[in-house]
């Protein structure tokens, strides 16, 4: 296992960072949550952030936290799928295909919510008056996010990006054939 500073990885996969922050912003907009500050990309840690007020409903905080997971996974998968099928299924590759695969993997690998997202969600769930059913949904999500954060030290985020952008489309072909 080799170590590459997160800032370099973020720079090489910057489209994913931008899409990730736009996804947070988009869910804030959906739920009418005031956004106080946004950084779409920077050479720092974190590479981007969205500073917002507490949502009224705790469930909204869940959606704001996991929004990037949904948006980045779908967009990354769609962008890379045709190129991945062409390259890895029957080897009809051109430069555009490799560009699309890089873009798809970049976006999908930033799907994982960050430890900051998990902490925010945990704080929201520990507030008074949060319904039990919401906590039952939220706490496993928080656990998965923290595991994903730990996993990113062993490239789990990159593995996920490749799985969504490359393995998924090839598996889809195998299922449909």
């Amino acid at each position: 296992m080799f170590f590459i500073p997160g800032q370099i990885i973020a720079a090489l996969t910057f489209p994913g960072v931008i899409v990730h922050e736009i996804a947070h912003l988009w869910f804030c907009r959906i739920f009418g949550v005031a956004v106080l500050d946004v950084c779409y990309f920077r050479f720092g840690n974190p590479a981007g952030y969205v500073l917002h007020e507490h949502p009224v409903r705790p469930s909204h905080q869940i959606w704001i936290a996991i929004g990037p997971f949904l948006v980045n996974s779908v967009i990354g998968g769609i962008i890379a799928a045709p190129a991945s099928i062409q390259v890895f299924q029957f080897e009809a590759a051109g430069p555009v295909d490799f560009l699309l695969i890089w873009l798809g993997v970049s976006i999908a690998m930033h799907a994982f919510p960050s430890a900051g997202d998990a902490k925010t969600l945990r704080t929201a769930m520990s507030a008074v008056g949060v319904p039990l059913r919401v906590k039952l949904i939220a706490y496993p999500i928080i656990g998965i996010i923290f595991l994903g954060t730990i996993g990113s030290y062993v490239w789990l985020d990159a593995v996920y990006g490749v799985a969504v952008a490359v393995v998924g489309p090839v598996l889809l072909v195998a299922l449909l054939a």
Partner: protein, 158 residues
């Protein structure tokens, strides 16, 4: 990358909007009136982000437009491989043909079509396929299979 609620208590009077001094909405973590909250929740994207979104939208559209063709070809290739493995070489030729019609640059699909055609006794189809990929780069396994088929066809006088 993260989203963080602001925990700071920014308003001395929670009923007064910290942005415009108007009447703040009740029971919110930050004292903002409805208009200011709406403005902040639907804040406009910066120009460079809009441009980035447009740049990102182009490959997205490209991918969406290419997806049906790539999926159909991928399915046909997979079916061709399965048919070949089952000894149904004529079926495999038909499936590989679907791929090569869509993606004539696929050396692998053309090679597999030629090999399947050889085994199906379609020597003319096989010869055309092998001619089409002559001089192209391919994996050593495919080259070996193609050369073996060509040798066999020469022995058979085809």
């Amino acid at each position: 990358m993260e989203s963080s609620p602001n925990n700071a208590s920014v308003a001395a009077d929670p009923s007064v909007c910290v942005s415009c001094g108007g009447r703040a909405e009740p029971d919110r973590s930050i004292a903002l009136c409805a208009a200011c909250r709406a403005r902040l929740s639907s804040r406009a994207l910066p120009v460079w982000i809009r441009l980035s979104a447009i740049v990102l939208f182009i490959p997205f559209l490209l991918a969406v437009s290419r997806f049906p063709s790539a999926l159909a070809a991928g399915v046909a290739f997979e079916r061709g491989q399965r048919a070949e493995a089952a000894g149904a070489f004529a079926v495999a030729v038909d499936e590989y043909t679907k791929v090569t019609q869509r993606f004539p640059s696929s050396t692998l699909a053309i090679a597999r079509k030629g090999i399947a055609a050889f085994h199906a006794g379609q020597y003319q189809v096989a010869a055309e396929a092998f001619d089409a990929i002559s001089g192209r780069e391919a994996s050593s396994d495919i080259v070996r299979e193609v050369n073996a088929a060509i040798d066999q066809m020469k022995k058979l006088g085809r």
